[in-house]
Structure formats: C-alpha cells, structure tokens
Symmetry: C2
Subunit: 115 residues, 2 copies
Amino acid sequence: MNIENAQIQMRKGILEFCILHIISRGEVYATDMLEELTAARMMVVEGTLYPILTRLKNAGLVEYKWVESPSGPPRKYYSLTTTGIASLEKLRETWHELATSTNQIINHNQLSGLS
Amino acid sequence: MNIENAQIQMRKGILEFCILHIISRGEVYATDMLEELTAARMMVVEGTLYPILTRLKNAGLVEYKWVESPSGPPRKYYSLTTTGIASLEKLRETWHELATSTNQIINHNQLSGLS
DNA sequence: CCAAGTACCTTGTATAACAGAGTACCTTCT
DNA sequence: AGAAGGTACTCTGTTATACAAGGTACTTGG
C-alpha cells in the first residue's frame, strides 16, 4: 500500500510551515510543539521534529535560548528571527496559492462515475 | 536561500493527489496533464511527471492505453482503476483534514508583535 | 532522405522524514 | 549518597522523491 506513503508526503511539505507558525505565536520548546502538532493531527515524532528545528536554526530563521525547567533538564525555547518572520510570510502566501490551485483542480469537474 | 526549497517541499506531497484528480476527470496523456498543472501554477516538469505516472501504474492506481496521435508518436492515455478511485477518495479526505489542521494552526492566534 | 517536432524514458544527485538507539541532566525514593 | 525513572535533546542509517539533463523512438514535411 503506497497510499499511506502519499499521505505522509502530503504532510511533509506543510510541516516546516506549521512549525514556524507555532513558534511565531510565542516561545515554545520541542515538547510544546509536538503536543500542538499532535492535537492538530499532524502526527510528528521526535526524530522528525528535532532535525527540522536544527535546519531552521542553521538557516537563520529561528533562534533559541536555554531555559531551566522546573522538572527535568533545561529546554531550548525557540523564537523567530527577523528573517524567520519574513520567510513565514512568504510561506503563508505559498500555502494560500497552493490551496487555491489544488482546490481549483479538484473542484474543476466532479465526474465521480466516469469509466 | 532555503525558502524556495520549502516551497518546493510544500508542492511535492500534493502533486500525486492532483495528478490522480486530473486523470479522474477523463482520459489524458502526459502533455495534457503538464498543461493543466502549469495553468494551476504547479510548475511540474517532464522528469517529475513521468516517474510519478510509472509509480502510479506499478501501484495499480492507473492504467493506460496507447492511442495514435494525429501529429507525432502514439500517446499513453491514462485512466483510473477501481483501486485508483478508492485511493483518490482517501487522499481527498487526507487533503481536507490537512488543510483544516493547517488553517487551525495558522489561525489559532495571530500575535505578530511578540518578542 | 534528412531535419524538426512530439512523446516517452532513464540516470545521477540532493534533500528530507522516519525509526531506533543513544547521551545528558534532573528529581525522587530508599 | 546512590539508584531508578523521567525529560529533553542528538545522531546514524534507510528509504522515498523531485529534479536536471540527456537519450530513444516515432511522425511529418521539405
């Protein structure tokens, strides 16, 4: 079955966008993001999230500061950089265009029983 | 600049879905699909489309028949199989859920000036 | 018979998600 | 103080995929 695969692919491209968005709303650390993404049915795991955060950091879109935790090891709290804010805006436009294009294609003609 | 990259990633997952959708509306061959995808600003090239069609064929989601062209070599006209129709329905649900989740995240709280 | 155009195919490369295992720090219990 | 368990972050290997670029094959027109 490669439908699951296609479903995974569909989520992939949007992940980075959603993560940037979550960070844009206030300082958060990885577990916060995982909770929010899971709540939104995005089904992301640690092994996926951390590399993305590292990549965003290296690209200069986000930065972090260490904050001590009341229970456990210190956490990296992330926030957007100026570059990150601009990038997020571009991605928002892309997302909007893409959703429009896709809906344009899938609503173009709904011939369900064509053989 | 990795924003372009993120934009490419965003399109990637939706491509297969859009292609299945275009095929579902009636028999088409590769150049037809390229035109339609380009018109919808999906910006796909030959080297991307043909491997996807081969993959969908091998997965049993689409089938094709050779049809002679009035001007040039014969064309492969694609149509969905029964499996393909079912898969498209699943992908449609996934797309809808994903769009909902994404909009849920990006509309959750618009704190633009948080520092 | 050769050139131009159309249609389909293939190879190599770079990127990215994921699974799974690993490291480090902190708190709590004995 | 030492051990156990939980939290947070990291790393390696595998697999999937888009894309660029070049290639093959068929058809029509001069």
